[in-house]
């Protein structure tokens, strides 16, 4: 197409000679690390910066500490639960915390960590032998860390109490002054108590009254044995979901609730997840496509306080996946790789897979894609869009606990457009609805126990119940519910 060199009437204007391309300079400097200029570089990250091993380690560790320090959310002595999946990012996070706790580190990390591992084998359809094998590996790694750890199986989600879905009122946010005071107080205590604060079970200073201490807990609690019936029920639940997108969302919701439950029972007030920058950029675009534009700040921000008493924190959010992978390789971080629900699924199987493929492909072509999306995500705020009537106590979604973002009054919106067509659909003659009524299998026994609804309920009752539950969901949870099989009127423990 019209490129320079073709014949035109007027001459193409001459641009001033372009500045010497940075590539040339860099190629000369590739021999040395860009930071210390002495060491031999072992990897190239960011926009072509070569780092030697020690400088890379310092850079990596500094980023981790900086994210924690900048946000000032984790108070000294606080109990923090690390959600470890065995994957590279969470393993890296776990090891960063371990190294930070050791007394040799420059500024010792001051919180009290525990680890939780969720066995999702039933949802992924793994057989019991493979699951036992993985569990053994997990146990050996977690024992070597010396931290208190909790292993739970996803089947335990059936035993969750109803209170899990209730929205807890949020604690008053502590100001900056309180943080500084807490840190100073903690330092004084440590100095007063002498050489207290051993690595594996940090003794708890009694002076900090604002945090509640639980009774002394077991250093490790392996998964409570789950029955085969529960495993069966769980796999039936997941098999009844029609699309992989809805399966992944369901798995995420169940996993989150389970981890929060563990945190609450054992007195943890924060949960750390190992989402890296790349994963969060993919998650942001995925959630955009799922209709969660209103909640992006909660889903991808540093702190997620929608659950009230327990805050989910993402300290790895500035580390790119490439850096994590290299760090794990260079410093031999142990990981346990287990097949996930979408392993080996084709690209078009779910929105999550599609977005991941797209972002990684675009990143190869435009290397600043992930960091651009990340920077945009930092500008999102946790509020309803400016200009809308924001009532302080809006109802929350039953499944994801975010403020409802559907407004039946305003019909000149995407939601309005879809509900008007649905309305016209329902007004079609009875013949149509009866033809559309699917044969309804009875839902898994453990699922709706608390409601006692679906056993023996007539189809019309079930539909009413379903409509009732859908009213309490946000836009994206409603779309996901459409993909759930008939008869699943809600999660376990739904309270009306």
């Amino acid at each position: 197409m019209c490129q320079v060199g073709e014949d035109y009437r007027e001459p193409v204007p001459k641009d001033p000679p372009p500045p010497p391309r940075p590539g040339h300079e860099q190629q000369k400097c590739m021999k040395w690390c860009v930071k210390c200029k002495k060491g031999a570089p072992v990897l190239v990250i960011r926009a072509g910066d070569a780092f030697c091993r020690d400088c890379f380690k310092a850079y990596y560790v500094h980023k981790f500490r900086a994210v924690l320090g900048k946000n000032r959310l984790i108070f000294p002595g606080e109990k923090v639960l690390l959600a470890w999946s065995g994957g590279p990012s969470s393993s890296s996070m776990l090891w960063q915390v371990l190294e930070g706790l050791s007394r040799e580190s420059a500024k010792q990390l001051r919180f009290v960590p525990g680890v939780v591992y969720v066995d999702e084998g039933a949802a992924c359809g793994r057989n019991p032998e493979d699951r036992a094998e993985t569990l053994a590996e997990v146990q050996s790694i977690l024992r070597s860390t010396g931290l208190p750890w909790h292993g739970v199986a996803l089947e335990e989600v059936f035993g969750l109490p109803q209170s899990v879905l209730r929205h807890f009122s949020q604690e008053p946010a502590m100001g900056d002054g309180a943080y500084k005071e807490a840190v100073d107080g903690f330092i004084q205590q440590q100095q007063g108590l002498g050489t207290e604060g051993a690595r594996d079970s940090p003794s708890l200073s009694p002076g900090l009254e604002q945090l509640s201490w639980p009774s002394p807990h077991n250093p490790q609690s392996p998964a409570r044995p789950h029955t085969a019936a529960e495993t069966e029920a769980l796999s039936r639940l997941f098999n009844s979901v029609r699309t992989l997108t809805a399966k992944e969302e369901l798995l995420q919701t169940l996993r989150t609730h389970l981890i929060l439950h563990v945190a609450r029972t054992h007195g943890y007030s924060k949960v750390m997840t190992g989402d890296s920058c790349t994963r969060l950029a993919i998650k942001l675009l995925t959630n955009l496509a799922l209709g969660r534009g209103a909640f992006l700040a909660w889903d991808t921000g540093f702190a997620d306080e929608r659950h009230g008493d327990v805050v989910v924190v993402r300290p790895m959010r500035e580390h790119m996946l490439k850096e994590v992978a290299f760090y794990n390789h260079l410093f031999a971080i142990p990981t346990v790789l287990t097949p996930a629900i979408d392993t080996k699924a084709p690209e078009k199987a779910s929105i999550h897979r599609l977005m991941e493929a797209f972002v990684l492909q675009l990143q190869a072509q435009f290397p600043s894609t992930v960091s651009t999306v990340y920077r945009t995500s930092e500008k999102l705020v946790k509020a309803p869009r400016a200009g809308r009537a924001a009532s302080p106590s809006r109802p929350c979604c039953l499944l994801c606990l975010c403020m409802l973002d559907v407004d039946s009054a305003d019909s000149a919106t995407a939601f309005g457009a879809q509900s008007t067509t649905a309305l016209s659909l329902r007004q079609a003659p009875a013949l149509q609805t009866q033809a559309k009524e699917p044969t309804v299998p009875c839902c898994s026994p453990g699922l709706c126990e608390d409601r006692g609804c679906c056993r023996g309920a007539r189809p019309s009752e079930r539909e009413d119940l379903q409509a009732c539950v859908i009213e309490q969901l946000c836009y994206s949870c409603r779309v996901n519910m459409k993909d759930l099989g008939p008869g699943h009127a809600g999660d376990p423990g739904v309270s009306d």
Binding site: M1, C2, Q3, V4, R9, E10, V12, P13, D15, P18, T243, L284, L285, N287, L288, A289, L290, G291, R292, G293, A294, L296, A297, E347, K348, A349, I351, L354, F358, L362, T369, T372, V373, T376, K379, L380, V381, K382, P384, R385, A386, D405, D410, S411, A412, T413, A414, F415, G416, A417, Q418, T420, T421, A422, S424, L425, A428, Q432, S476, V479
Partner: protein
């Protein structure tokens, strides 16, 4: 196997299934439903008050053709009068054929048509000239950046020429979905903050704009044009393959295969985005050069044209802004001589 009867009139055989709901409808009922939904959008959003003189941005393509047709059907009920405004960007081999289609439509519908050309409005700069000017730096030409900004200025000018009170464009739901994806990928927080509604109310003297087709998906627009046998121009712009929007469009098409409702889900997300106040665009004021709406001392159109005149076309794009405060145009590349610039 014969098609099921239409779900609405139960008389004719169904001719299609609506992508949105899976409902089987015959051609006539589908068109009626489509028109009813557009009417509902306009009324519920209070987009076009009675007595408005509406300038329809007509490009000859499927969206603006459907828009003009539907608004013409609805005009008596809404109490508005229509004018067609077409913009000639000066893209050889593309725009001339499209304009021929617009002229045919104007004749058939008996609507007044006004054509505004870049060459007249912007000192002789046609899109082809812009493309030649930005070519050769080894980077992408960003033709769509220039064309989009200049076209909006041209549309505003054309609307003023015909005495319109509102401007409507044929953007559909797929366009809005692609826009939000693209803006996130490019990190354009200003546009993310501004977009998402059904249009802009028209601040600081600019005409209010809206997009009545915003909640209709592209498939339905094409089907409507098919059933009403509308004559439109269906080739893509010669510069389209270079655009970044192509990535977003490709992604959207793939997403639609996985989950058909993703288009409206993205529009819903775009409506509900909450950006920090610091990321919001500045309060609009008048451009010092042409008195149009601007968020900086110079509006984007004037800035781009200034850069082109100086022979530094990338002046207003991205990091080229550093040169903006330099002196007035030197004897750099000048556009080909043309008729005198009209006073804005």
């Amino acid at each position: 196997m014969p098609a099921p009867p239409c779900a609405s009139c139960h008389a004719a055989r169904a001719a299609l299934r609506r992508p949105r709901s899976g409902q089987a409808l015959c051609g006539a009922c589908f068109c009626a439903a489509f028109e009813a939904e557009v009417l509902h959008t306009v009324l519920a959003g209070r987009l076009l008050p009675p007595g408005a003189v509406v300038a329809v941005g007509a490009s000859g393509g499927k969206d603006s053709t459907v828009l003009a047709h539907v608004l013409r059907e609805l005009a008596p009920r809404l109490g508005v009068s229509l004018r067609l405004v077409a913009v000639d960007e000066g893209i050889g081999g593309y725009r001339d054929a499209a304009l021929a289609a617009v002229r045919r439509q104007a004749a058939r519908w008996e609507l007044p048509l006004t054509v505004v050309a870049y060459a007249d409005l912007f000192g002789g700069w046609t899109m082809d000239a812009v493309a030649r000017s930005t070519a050769g730096s080894g980077r992408s030409r960003a033709c769509c950046t220039f064309c989009g900004v200049l076209r909006r200025r041209a549309l505003e000018e054309g609307a003023r020429l015909v005495g319109a009170t509102h401007i409507v464009t044929g953007h559909n739901a797929d366009d809005m979905a692609e826009t939000v994806l693209m803006n996130f990928l490019r990190g354009d927080t200003g546009r993310l903050a501004r977009g998402g509604g059904l249009g802009s109310p028209g601040e600081g003297g600019a005409l209010p704009r809206c997009r009545p087709l915003q909640l209709a998906s592209q498939k339905e627009v094409v089907l409507y044009a098919h059933f009403r046998r509308l004559d439109y121009f269906s080739e893509e712009c010669v510069y389209a393959p270079e655009a970044f929007r192509g990535h977003a469009r490709d992604l959207l098409k793939r997403l639609e295969v996985v989950r058909p409702s993703v288009v409206l889900d993205l529009v819903h997300s775009a409506e509900r985005l909450a950006l920090a106040p610091a990321a919001q665009p500045a309060r609009p004021r008048a451009c010092t050069c042409c008195r149009a709406l601007a968020s900086r001392p110079l509006c984007q159109a004037c800035t781009l044209l200034d850069g082109l005149d100086r022979g530094r076309p990338r002046l207003a794009i991205g990091k080229g802004r550093r040169g903006l405060d330099e002196e007035a145009p030197r004897a750099g590349a000048q556009p080909p001589p043309s008729a005198a610039l009209p006073a804005f």
